[in-house]
Assembly symmetry: C2
């Protein structure tokens, strides 16, 4: 598949950081940045921009806050065309913490929002556009909130927001390829002046195939993470995506190197990927919260009881 | 997805046995049989029927030969509607070893063949039909042999063979969903009097999504293995397939139980699944042979060198 407009965004540190409270050390993040830059991937999302009024430095690592100095420390001196992105959640960022783009190493700010919080997301995006950033709105949990509120949110985005890209986010890893086709078409029908993106979760080993499906139906912004790292089951493995895209600007080899050097050892220390409670959450279209708690308990491999607890939610 | 004609075949022991020379002990195979029977899965493929003139009992376990007594030992006394299948490779079975179906615990024999060996496969299948078995022809490596020889083989099968089901086999785990659509349609255009099946490999985490794609385009026989076990990257995880199919005859819970009890510990001892050299083989549309050899060497995580060795095959 080769389409010039396609852009790939690596969110290894940002989504992977949801496993370890964003406490990656600077050398690790530098290795990732170097690999991403060398592979020709278009964007690297390096963490969240969260307010220190809500989260403490004592509890979280640097990539929960993404201070400009931290970003510069891992990126300065490395030759790169890769742009840097940070994510913000509606209501969790102090807008005064964000300098104008011209004074910051950050190029893009992505605003994560549920369909129902779209007013605030639009206001934030327009604020960041004013400050000179590329912006996206990532609509989370579209496997749940597919009623008329989704169309309303999309119309409002198209009419009122200055975001460049609108993402379909399969937060629970529960969507199948037919759903992706329907959703990308539905987004494109309403969003005519912006690009469509896709961010998958890998609970059912569908993050990569759903990304391909999104490409087929016209999404041009695609998220992946190295070795599939990310919360719970993780994301679309970047190496698969780069292997699939035939654009000669990409080079898979630096990604293979950093997997061998950094991610194989890391996977021995923290877990993500194909883990049965996350599979069950995906099948059930549930947030992975309960499965993550299970994995931290002494019942971590009691799959049947966990399955039945989700089946019976509706019966309580 | 619910379609009454859909049948699921578990090939845990047969394809998983390619990792350990089919040397699973009887208690393990009995646990798998009990789980498969309780889950309502239609078939369980328990191994290969190979000639002892070609392979030795000293080197291989019982499921390389599938003597009737071995099968009875693990299945007798368990209430079950699950039929038992064995696989044969063209040229590796002694036909005299195969009793008439009425005297055997085996219900189905699947003949694996490349498109170019189809004459022999058809002769074998017709022999097994004569003896009273359900039969399939599994056309291997369709990602490689897609020229006119494939159409010729399909025409010959349709006209000369009495096989019940013809399988598309993605031996190298290299096919994307668009290829699956094309191949299933191509098979169905020629094969009008038999069912179509699909057997995927999981090198690029596409075995499950490709199975869904095959279902969408009309394949009714679907292979899976528990926890995705199988040669190299393994196969479509049975638990995902059963979770997707909404047929009330299936129960995912016995599969979840046997994963916790048997497959989590087994995975500590032998490896299959998402392993980078298998990813590379899949992307390159190569047999996993070289990647399997790499994993048994001291270069097992030297991905770049392995990648370059495959890229350069064409340049030698």
């Amino acid at each position: 598949m080769y389409r010039e407009q396609i852009k790939v965004l690596d969110c290894t540190i940002r989504d992977g950081g949801l496993i370890n409270k964003h406490d990656f050390d600077a050398n690790f993040v530098k290795s990732v940045y170097r690999a991403i830059a060398a592979s020709g991937v278009d964007y690297m999302e390096i963490g969240y921009k969260n307010s220190r009024e809500l989260f403490s430095d004592k509890e979280y690592g640097a990539w929960k806050f993404c201070d400009d100095e931290h970003i510069k420390r891992v990126s300065d001196g490395i030759e790169s065309d890769t742009k840097i992105s940070v994510m913000v959640d509606v209501g969790r960022v102090n807008l005064d913490d964000v300098k104008p783009a011209s004074e910051s190493p950050v190029d893009m700010i992505r605003v994560a929002s549920y369909a129902k919080g779209i007013d605030k997301a639009i206001a934030m995006v327009n604020h960041f556009v004013q400050k000179g950033y590329e912006t996206t709105i990532n609509i989370m949990a579209v496997s749940r909130d597919q009623g008329p509120e989704l169309d309303e949110a999309l119309h409002q985005i198209e009419e009122e927001s200055k975001a460049d890209i609108i993402y379909v986010v399969d937060s629970f890893g529960s969507l199948y390829q037919e759903n992706i086709e329907d959703l990308v078409k539905r987004f494109k029908k309403i969003i005519k002046t912006k690009e469509i993106g896709f961010h998958g979760h890998n609970n059912q080993q569908l993050a990569f195939s759903n990304t391909i499906e999104a490409i087929i139906h016209g999404a041009n912004y695609l998220d992946g993470t190295i070795y599939g790292i990310g919360r719970a089951a993780g994301n679309c493995p970047l190496e698969l995506l780069v292997g699939f895209l035939k654009n000669p600007k990409f080079d898979i080899r630096p990604i293979l190197d950093v997997i061998a050097k950094e991610f194989i050892p890391l996977r021995e220390k923290i877990e993500w990927g194909y883990i049965i409670p996350y599979v069950i959450s995906g099948i059930m279209n549930e947030h992975p919260r309960a499965a993550m708690a299970l994995r931290n308990s002494d019942k971590k491999d009691n799959y049947r009881e966990f399955y039945e607890s989700l089946v019976n939610i509706g019966l309580e």
